[in-house]
């Protein structure tokens, strides 16, 4: 149990003494303060006791080192330290009741440079660094886009090309719009075709370029011929009195034409280096296929166009204006028209027995001017005795048809040649197998205007003079060439050439120059102005035993082509003597033009006419 433990030295008091109350009083008096402080008062000149004594007792004193920032001492310190008084402080000073009382101390401390106060004698700085996270680089690379090198030039012509292309596209769009409105199906077909053409960019497009190259290669090979053609003028002509020579140039031959004879030659009026060769056979017994070839002087090795025909070609004519239209007459009596612009090997039109073809070989075809309906037409003459005019009529449906128009009733015995007057449209001549020449007119279809007893054998060719309107020429297998004035019944000139004459041709540059070919392989060139009785050139141009069948003068260049019965065509250049123009008289201007030629001829004729006193029939 808890018993009271009395310390041994405790005061023992009686109970009465325990109950005794003692009073204690708490006062604010400092017990240590003296109670009787005496001070001398000078007023009473004695020592007096102070009534109240200071009872303050100071328990603790600590000298602090804080200054109020606005106090003088603080200001002085700041000035000493060089710290400028900032605006906030000023603001604080000036605007005491501003309202915003931010904790200025923080702001000031942030704005000012903190100067670390370090102990000069004992200072160690301890810094520590945290672990840096390792940097990791992560990249990703995609496959680069495919690259192609592009380079282009911007030239004037590239720009031009772009414009041209643009224009073409626009035009195509316009066309398509037009066609679409009418026939849609056809258009689709066309579109398909166009697509196909674009896709097939194979080598066939090089064809055109290959042609150019072939010509270049040929030109190189036959360089000397090309140079001769252009520049060679036989200088020895000055020494030869009046005679001239023929210089052989290119020789045109085609493998497949070897067995055939040249039956027709014609120069193209528009492209003066292009000529047509008709191949067939004159032998009655040896009739087979024929060919139609077109050669250019630029390429003597290979023809430009080749057409194979069922029957031998006997004659051909190229239209004067539309030089792509060629009329051809065949041995079997057909006539056909080829269009060189068309691609196919077949003629554009061909006459059949139903449309009235001739029953005998067609010996001559000639184009005429378009008729009043602007249809093309041409004439043909044949051994069946008919002279026929064919007209190309465009029939509904788009196909062409030849319509027939008989000009002369068939009492014409076997016509073998035909020629139309150069200036007078309706006048033409027909040569016959019996040797007569009939002058006819388109307007009189039943009668001849005139008949000339020309030759003893068939008249192989009749040709009007290019310049003089009255003169024509004829040749025949009876070895003669005769020159006529159509107003006179007998020939003006007669030449005997010692061999059957295959063909004659007037020159396009002179009214008095003409050439003839004979079956002994010779070419005879005459100039009536220089020599009225003899040829000024007689030259064999092919091997012996080769017959020359046709001759034609080139309209522009001084060359002639001759065809023979072996299928060869030889080109020859005329030497200067053969191309003489009348000499200029000193002081006189030489009048140029066809009138001069006509005058020349007229002079010759007049010389001949005068001595003739025999009345004309």
């Amino acid at each position: 149990g808890k018993t009271m433990v009395k310390p041994p030295d405790q005061l023992d008091l009686s109970e009465a003494e325990l109950k005794e109350e003692f009073t204690r009083i708490l006062t604010a008096n400092n017990p240590h303060a003296p109670q009787n402080i005496v001070r001398y008062s000078f007023k009473e000149r004695s020592y007096k006791q102070i009534s109240s004594v200071d009872q303050l007792a100071i328990h603790f004193v600590l000298e602090g080192n804080l200054l109020h920032k606005d106090s003088d001492e603080a200001r002085r310190q700041r000035a000493r330290d060089g710290i400028p008084e900032d605006g906030a402080e000023d603001a604080g000073d000036t605007e005491e009741g501003a309202g915003e009382e931010r904790p200025d101390s923080l702001e000031i401390s942030l704005g000012k440079k903190e100067r670390k106060l370090t102990n000069q004698f004992n200072f160690s700085e301890r810094a520590s660094q945290t672990m840096n996270n390792p940097m990791r680089e992560r990249e990703c690379q995609t496959e680069p886009p495919p690259r192609g090198k592009f380079s282009a030039t911007a030239n004037q012509w590239e720009i031009y090309d772009a414009y041209v292309e643009e224009r073409r596209k626009q035009e195509k769009v316009k066309e398509k719009q037009k066609v679409l409105s009418s026939k849609k199906e056809e258009d689709k077909g066309k579109k398909k075709l166009q697509l196909v053409e674009n896709q097939s960019d194979d080598i066939t497009k090089v064809a055109k370029v290959a042609k150019i190259i072939e010509r270049m290669v040929t030109q190189n090979t036959f360089d000397d011929i090309a140079q001769d053609f252009k520049y060679f003028e036989d200088a020895s002509d000055e020494f030869r009195d009046q005679e001239g020579t023929l210089l052989p140039l290119w020789k045109f031959q085609h493998d497949k034409a070897k067995r055939l004879s040249v039956t027709a030659l014609c120069w193209n009026q528009k492209y003066k280096d292009l000529f047509a060769v008709g191949l067939g056979s004159y032998e009655f017994t040896r009739q087979g296929q024929g060919m139609l070839l077109f050669y250019s002087l630029k390429n003597a090795t290979f023809p430009e166009y080749i057409f194979s025909t069922m029957s031998g070609v006997m004659c051909l004519d190229i239209h004067k204006q539309l030089s792509y239209l060629v009329a051809v007459g065949f041995y079997d009596g057909c006539v056909a028209i080829y269009n060189l612009k068309e691609q196919g090997p077949q003629p554009v039109y061909r006459s059949t027995a139903r449309s009235g073809k001739h029953t005998d070989p067609v010996w001559q075809v000639k184009w005429q001017k378009d008729d009043t309906d602007n249809n093309h037409n041409f004439f043909s003459v044949s051994s069946d005795g008919r002279v026929v005019s064919w007209t190309l009529v465009k029939v509904l449906g788009g196909t062409l048809r030849l319509s027939l128009d008989l000009y002369l009733k068939p009492f014409l015995s076997c016509g073998t040649s035909l020629d139309f007057h150069k200036q007078i449209d309706y006048l033409f001549l027909v040569g016959t197998e019996e040797g007569k020449i009939h002058k006819c007119s388109k307007s009189y279809s039943s009668q001849f205007l005139e008949t000339y007893v020309a030759h003893n054998m068939a008249v192989d060719a009749v040709k009007w003079n290019h310049f003089h309107p009255k003169v024509f020429m004829s040749c025949s297998s009876d070895w003669t060439v005769k020159i006529w004035d159509h107003t006179i019944k007998s020939p003006v000139f007669t030449f005997d050439l010692n061999a059957a004459v295959g063909d004659v041709a007037w020159s396009p540059y002179s009214a008095t120059v003409f050439a003839a070919v004979t079956t002994d392989g010779k070419v005879h060139v005459f100039d009536l102005h220089i020599n009225k009785y003899e040829a000024i050139c007689q030259q064999a141009v092919v091997a012996k035993k080769t017959k020359l069948t046709h001759i034609e003068f080139n309209p522009a260049y001084p060359i002639i082509i001759v065809g023979d019965d072996r299928g060869y065509v030889t080109s020859l250049k005329l030497s200067p003597n053969l191309r003489k123009k009348p000499k200029e008289k000193k002081g006189q201007e030489l009048p140029k033009g066809p009138e001069v030629e006509v005058a020349k001829m007229e002079k010759l004729l007049s010389l001949l006419r005068e001595p003739e006193t025999v009345p004309q029939d």
Binding site: I203, V206, A210, E214, M216, N220
Partner: protein, 99 residues
């Protein structure tokens, strides 16, 4: 038709070789050996482009028809097309006696 023409050209007297090059300068047909072909094709392609550019710069409506380079040994003829280039190397017949 084209094949025949090319054959004829190749068979012509004096022709050493024929090369057809496409628009990128890659030979597509040749009668020569491949290294020579590649060389000719590359060089002539550039030359033709330059020649054509020259002609057309002077007159944009004009265009190059063909190019002929005659050297001592032979003659190189180039005919460009819109997409192709035809090159023929020929030994032109030079039988002229020196005068």
């Amino acid at each position: 038709m084209l094949e025949e023409t090319l054959k004829r050209i190749q068979a012509h007297k004096g022709v050493i070789g024929t090369i057809v090059v496409n628009a990128e300068g890659i030979p597509i047909r040749t009668t020569l050996d491949s290294s020579t072909t590649v060389q000719y094709a590359g060089l002539l392609h550039q030359l033709t482009m330059k020649a054509r550019s020259t002609v057309r710069d002077i007159d944009p409506q004009n265009d190059l028809t063909f190019l002929r380079i005659r050297s001592k040994k032979h003659e190189i003829m180039v005919a460009p097309d819109k997409e192709y280039l035809l090159i023929v190397i020929q030994n032109p017949s030079e039988y002229l006696l020196p005068q």
